[in-house]
């Protein structure tokens, strides 16, 4: 079967382990010099919450003070000894140095520090830090779906099955999940691909979602959040040396997981730019340009798409997805579709279309050949259950030998967290009409999504009233990614500090207002443009205050530097 699939670009034979090489950008004009991001991280002054190791000499002299107080001393001590270390900046895996993760970067570390300072009574011009940097719905007060939590509690402590405080459908779901677990316990390892019955439920969900397009549970892998799936797939795809090194096309702006994984794997990051003027749409001509350019330096094999977009919030039209699939087929690219925001579509006239559905509707010449991996998670949509690290990926048209390799690769991490698997099952097998929990479930789901839609609109509207800020409609996902114009003087000052200008801007905003945003430079952006990413998740009242503060800050900042 596999042999006949001549067009398959990912054959087991082309698989070689990750290869060495520097992390480079290929983009339209000079994006950044390769070292830019690294130096950015190093030069930002981080009053780091990660203090260096607490010196053991304290232990020996019998002093047992709280370690935090000794940080300053330790640094000098450690510096003295660092020449004796096995693991130093010079001996460390050099690829690690290129890894960055902006949503957990210096700004966020500083925010944590400030929170601590506030707790310790340090005076600030604000009383709390508002973290609008990460898509963490529950942290912002969104309530969990009652049904999901009931079933999970029942699974954790099956004694509760005897109690009559839980609806019957919650109990029967719990029994079914427990039956599928080793020793009927969430505490047993599952198969590394995930619990069988959960994968079956995922397959049925995909079929329903895609209007009957078939899904084989064997193609479904449960993962530790979507991130785990994405990184695993990239690991499988990346190989080669020099000009044959795997290139992976990612959108700019992108979610930093992709750039971080590519840096770690030593793959070539191939940038294609989303069109900000056309609501962050994906243009075919840009894909062609980017691919042609990349082919001069590497072997581009993979095209990654985030739809609905993160950080950009656009929702792709059906036509656009068709174009992308045709392009991938023609150019022999493996498609990775990050669809974790599939239920987060707010704008009128927009609708989520899965890549898989469109692929199958294009007919067998596509649906039998184009290789696709699609990712979903429990962390977003109306659930927002990030802490469970639940997710799945479906692989389509993958060479069976390669699939064996994938199965091996996932077995290294033993299994995804079982409560996350259970939760994934509930998401794909939610209460049905006629079941006791259905009404409440629908009420909660609809209310959450309606609120998000309102906040998406509100954010766009208010940001667009600020002179110097332009914000595209937030059609979907959980973020706005407005364009900010920064005065020359501010840009100069930032550069003198070795900071990206929007990092400088966001750091200042954090220090002055307590608002934690992620600078556009962490996601990538067209040269000379500046942005920030802000979630739409805070409760409406708080969001309004937050937007008013952003507005005030921006005006002040502009004034100060012009």
């Amino acid at each position: 079967m596999s042999a006949s699939r001549i067009g398959q670009m990912l054959s087991s034979k082309s698989l070689r382990v990750i290869t060495r090489g520097n992390y480079r950008f290929f983009g339209n004009g000079a994006q950044y010099p390769a070292g830019h991001l690294t130096s950015g991280v190093r030069s930002v002054m981080i009053p780091s919450p990660l203090s260096p190791f607490f010196s053991q000499s304290r232990a020996l002299s019998g002093v047992s003070e709280p370690p935090r107080g000794l940080v300053q001393e330790k640094m000098t001590e450690n510096a003295v000894f660092s020449q004796n270390k096995v693991l130093t900046i010079d001996t460390m895996n050099p690829k690690v140095k290129n890894v960055e993760y902006a949503v957990r970067g210096p700004i966020v570390q500083r925010a944590v520090q400030i929170e601590k300072e506030l707790r310790e009574g340090v005076k600030k011009p604000f009383t709390e830090v508002i973290k609008a940097n990460i898509g963490d719905a529950h942290a912002m007060g969104q309530q969990p779906i009652t049904f999901f939590r009931q079933v999970l509690a029942l699974c954790s402590y099956p004694e509760l099955l005897k109690d009559n405080m839980f609806p019957e459908d919650a109990k029967s779901r719990a029994r079914r999940i427990l039956q599928a677990c080793g020793g009927s316990s969430l505490g047993a390892y599952s198969a590394s691909q995930g619990i069988d019955c959960v994968r079956q439920d995922v397959a049925r969900y995909i079929e329903r979602r895609d209007g009957g397009v078939p899904c084989d549970p064997d193609n479904v892998y449960l993962t530790t959040g979507a991130s785990d799936g994405i990184v695993t797939m990239l690991k499988l795809l990346v190989c080669g040396e020099g000009a044959s090194k795997t290139g992976v096309m990612i959108s700019i702006p992108q979610y930093p997981l992709y750039s971080a994984a590519l840096a770690e794997l030593g793959a070539v990051q191939v940038n294609y730019y989303l069109n900000e003027e056309k609501c962050w749409s994906m243009d075919l001509s840009e894909l062609e340009r980017s691919l042609a350019e990349a082919r001069k330096h590497c072997n581009p094999k993979v095209l990654c798409i985030i739809n609905p977009g993160n950080p950009t919030g656009q929702v792709q039209s059906r036509q656009c997805i068709e174009d992308v699939i045709r392009f991938a087929a023609k150019e022999h690219l493996f498609l990775m579709a990050d669809e974790v925001y599939q239920d987060n579509v707010y704008a009128e006239g927009c609708q989520f279309h899965s890549f898989k559905k469109v692929l199958f509707e294009l007919g067998p010449q596509y649906s039998n050949t184009v290789e696709l991996a699609s990712f979903h998670s429990t962390s977003k949509c109306y659930m927002g259950e990030c802490g469970f690290r639940g997710g799945y990926m479906e692989v389509i048209n993958m060479d069976p030998e390669v699939k064996d390799q994938l199965t091996k690769l996932v077995s290294v991490r033993l299994c995804p967290p079982v409560p996350g698997q259970a939760l994934m099952d509930l998401v794909v097998n939610s209460p049905q009409p006629g079941e006791p929990s259905y009404t409440t479930f629908m009420k909660e789901r609809t209310a959450t999504l309606r609120l998000l839609a309102e906040k998406a609109k509100l954010t766009e509207e208010i940001l667009n009233t600020v002179p110097g800020i332009t914000c595209n409609p937030v059609q979907g996902a959980m973020y706005s990614f407005p364009n900010i114009s920064l005065p020359q003087k501010a840009i100069k000052e930032a550069k003198a500090l070795g900071q990206a200008p929007d990092m400088f801007y966001c750091m200042k905003m954090l220090e002055e207002t307590g608002i934690c945003l992620v600078p556009g430079s962490g996601f990538g952006q067209k040269d000379g443009t500046y942005h920030f990413r802000m979630t739409i998740l805070p409760p409406t009242d708080k969001l309004k205050i937050l937007l008013a503060k952003v507005k005030e800050f921006h005006q002040k900042f502009t004034q100060q530097y012009s």
Partner: protein, 469 residues
Amino acid sequence: MRSIKQTELEPLVRRANQIKTEVTQGGRKPCKDVIDVSWGDKHRGGVQPLTFVRQVLAACLYPQLVHSYKLPEDVRQRVQSLLGACDGGSVGSYTPTGGISYIQCSVSNFISRRDGGVPSSPENIFMTSGSQRSIMQVLKMLADFHNQASLPTGVLTAVPTYSSFKMMLQTLGATVVPYYLDEEQGWAMEVEELRRALQASKGICNTVALYVINPGNPTGHVQSRKCIEEVIRFAAEERLFLMADEVYQESVFGEGSEFVSYKKVLSEMGPPLSHTVELASFHSASKGFMGECGLRGGYVELVNLDPAVMRYAYTIFSTDICAPVTGQLALELMANPPRPGDPSYPVYAQETQSIQAMLVHNMNWVPEVLNNIPGISCQPMMGGAFVFPRLYLPQAAIEKAKVVGMQPDLWYCKRLLEEAGVCVGPGCEYGQKEGTHHIRLCVMTPVETMEEVLKRLKTFHLHFLKEFS
């Protein structure tokens, strides 16, 4: 990627599950059910979860239980403080990279208590989705993978060692530098052997780290303080990064054996070693009394790392965003179990004591029974979850296995599974001295089940010997 060796165990376990299904569907089989003792998985083996742990977990997941369900007072309090430590009061929120700081502090206090007061800094603790993930992240920093211009990174690894560690090295393009544990000495670790192994690796790879599993998996050996001191000295002399896998630290019941952590010994050795030797110590909620493997809670404590490297460690751990919160909660409960006087204590004490009694019984009794089977010898068990008895297979059986193209002990395990319904791990999966054969059995298994396993094993083994003599 192709170079990654498929584990021998997975197909066996898959087959075991198949047989289970066949048995329930009424197919005719020589056995009435399948007992799987190939994994170190307490709950799968039939040990019940701890009530306290599951009550806290359930109420954290569904906080209404705090008010509407009769739960012990200490459970309620624990739930409230844990939810208070979660952003937005929900276990559905992301946590900081290293884990919820409240739990980081608990773990660090736990380490300090365990080590007789040696300080531990919460900032040096990173919680991950199981300890395996921590190991992977540390290896990533050490291994300049696929740098073809220089030698591959080597990691000194015990023979035998569980297979996923070796797979991790393979996925990173690092090299296993094997050192053999001394079976005749109860699987002890010998520094001379380490020295030999390191010497042998010269020119083949750049050996930068030493991986130690104590208590041993699959060997059940527990290292003495003296041994640990020697190993640390060796690491210091040879400039090796120490990775101490200590996930079985709660399971040491062998007579005269005691668990001493690498960190404690390191610290007590004094300067300069205590300042310089870099150590990553791993622990997990999957083993011990809780045995909560499915929750995926593990951590690493990084000791003596260069501060500049620590910053990158933070970034590398950040790429997972955070460990599953349920796993973090499990770590909290492991670090802070109920104390005497707490309402949950009596039940907790009774449950852990019965698990301990089971372990103590099995640890003494299983090797004894195995040693009484002709053609099997088993070293005394000091701790951990497994015994790793040696099989003396008849030459004819070894020849037969070669004919079917299988490692002899794998073939033995396959037949044991098919004919007796017992699933164990074949020695070739873990590595062993050339020409020797072993099997691995998990003894964290209820006594009655263990009795049945040994009964079936004995019958099968005698039959097998007869067939090939």
